[in-house]
């Protein structure tokens, strides 16, 4: 079924020219409170880790597509005449758009625009002493792809630490999405550790991911962060604290903890047209999350200002 106001969207007809690709669900799986959605997408062009796509369920009741980080990507099988990528997304249902997508069944259609935006700069991460992934809830989404890319990079980071904060044990089941990239890194000889913490305390340690970070942070770390805005700010505060305490080291590194944050904003177009997705960044200007971001460096996004009260993290 397709809405009258969505007519020229999904379906079997040839709708070229179009930037909107026709995805077909090849796998849909519930993981705790999240959903792993894999789409087979002819015409997809390979994504950078940290980029996102605008998705809309076929016959959606929503007017606008929604933004999702690219979670995993499998290139076309050698013999595939359609040369279709298989692209995975990790979804947390929080409203109508995410609910629709999480209810899609294998074979259902979804409109896709992407990959879009500016992702993580692999060059700045691959040679790192240690890459620390800090994720809250569904903020885990972009990191399996990033880890795969780091595994394939050269040089590889010397070590990887994944710190995951979850609300509770059910949400924490999402840790499984890291199994494959983590084993791969380990097989490749990159020591990789995963630690979890949850607010409810019904799995592993009780608390916020920033507590883990505070204990773990070292001078040679490069951070990649994704989660609720308040969590991102709190992470940055930890970085600033660290900087204060280890001023000499920091000065060498240009007085900056090298940390990159994948940030969120409500979007309409995802392609820089509408100017709807701006956030105020450190220099006081408004930056489009869909173009300059979603990945911003900590200094760029938050500057050296500290956040008066780092709220406990909400829904990731």
């Amino acid at each position: 079924m397709t809405f009258r106001w969505l007519t020229p969207a999904d379906g079997v007809e040839d709708h070229r020219p179009s930037a909107r690709l026709q995805g077909k669900v090849s796998h849909s799986e519930r993981i705790g409170s999240m959903y792993l959605l894999r789409l087979r997408i002819p015409g997809w062009q390979t994504a950078g880790a940290g980029q996102f796509a605008m998705l809309q369920a076929g016959g959606s009741s929503c007017f606008l597509p929604r933004a999702f980080s690219i979670h995993e990507e499998v290139p076309p099988a050698p013999g595939d005449p359609e040369r279709a990528y298989e692209v995975g997304f990790l979804l947390a249902p929080v409203g109508p758009g995410t609910e629709e997508l999480s209810e899609l069944q294998v074979g259902d259609a979804a409109g896709v625009l992407g990959p879009l935006g500016t992702g993580f700069d692999l060059g700045l991460l691959s040679g790192a002493g240690r890459v620390v992934v800090v994720a809250g809830g569904v903020g885990a989404a972009p990191f399996p792809l990033l880890l795969e890319r780091l595994a394939a990079a050269s040089p590889r980071p010397r070590e990887i630490l994944v710190l995951l904060g979850f609300r509770d044990a059910v949400q924490a089941e999402a840790v499984h999405v890291f199994s494959e990239p983590v084993s791969r890194l380990r097989r490749l000889g990159v020591p990789t550790h995963v630690e979890l913490i949850s607010e409810a305390g019904d799995t592993g340690r009780t608390g916020l991911v920033t507590e883990l970070l505070r204990e773990e942070l070292r001078a040679e770390d490069r951070l990649v962060v994704c989660g609720a805005h308040a969590m991102c700010e709190a992470v940055w505060d930890v970085c600033l604290d660290f900087l204060e305490q280890s001023a000499p080291v920091a000065e060498e590194a240009g007085n900056e903890v090298p940390a990159w944050f994948s940030l969120e904003a409500g979007m309409a177009c995802g392609t820089g047209s509408c100017q709807g997705c701006v956030i105020e960044i450190a220099d006081g200007s408004l930056a489009k999350v869909c173009r300059r971001g979603p990945v911003f460096s900590g200094a760029e996004a938050f500057g050296h200002r500290r956040h008066p009260c780092a709220l406990p993290e909400k829904e990731g």
Binding site: R4, W5, L6, T7, P8, A9, H15, P17, S18, A19, R20, Q45, Q56, C62, F63, L64, P65, G97, G111, L113, P115, L116, G117, A265, G266, M267, A268, C269, G270, T271, G272, S273, C274, Q275, G276, C277, V278, I279, E280, L286, C290, R291
Partner: protein, 332 residues
Amino acid sequence: MTPSLDVDLTVRLGPLVLAHPLINASGTLDLFETADSLGAGRGEQLLQDPPVAAYVPKTVTLDPRRGNPPPRVVETPAGMLNSIGLPNAGLEAFVERDLDRILALPRPVIFNLGGFAPEEFALGTERLRLALEQRLGSPRAVWEKAGLELNVSCPNVHSGCMQIGASADETEATVRGVAAVWEGLLAVKLTPNVTDAVPVAQAAVEAGATAISLVNTFKGLVLDRLTLSPYLGGITGGLSGPAIKPLALRFCWEVAAAVDVPIIGMGGVASVEDVVDYLAVGASAVAVGASAFRDPWLYARLARELESELAHRGSTLADLTGCAHRGGVVGL
């Protein structure tokens, strides 16, 4: 896109010749940003063969504007509310940074100028005309490449843009000042947030407008679900998308019956049926706004579907245009 021309879709808006009636609504398509977003292949294609019959850049104002604080967009039933607030680098920066690449597009351009007092519009127009003449040579070359749309109807700036468009007198004053320095297509973009748009349209035409664009967005409010305070940074916003289509179509229907200049119809266009409806009530060109957020090639697809629709009905674009005022067509 140039559709395969079995059916003649050519539209004339004053001195501008459009290959088909589908254009973008101002503020909803930035071809250059989109091209960059889409990456090398599709991005180049977008600039080399833009999907719009004419390109309408976002509103530029004399002075730079930051725009409204975020959040700026939110979805509503069958539509969206925006409170972008006309952020732009100002006309001078626009001329310096953007004008050349816009003029390099293989399409006519309809510049969109905003302002908060009649004089601002005249000043801006003069500046733009000068810049265009410098680049295109003769005035004639300018008028064949460039039209102008006056945004006197933005509901998202609190310094008075929409107040101009809500008043026939102020609109008349604004248009008169601009018409004195602009001989090309001069469209005035009206607000639907008025008791009656007809007197405003008539005043605009009286003062020298050679086209009427309508509608801009409808002022609306969405609350934050949790805090129950206004959700958008700009408090209120402008509603667009399919939700407003019956309302916008009514404005076009009334204004098309009352003035004798071409109409650029818009508001909620999402499908070829919508395009046909706007043409039928008298629009010469049809602009797509928020619905193209789903796909920046939507304009071109609609143009192609319009072609099929006309072929199917066995009627010409001229037959279709304004037919609702002539008792409709049977066709089909």
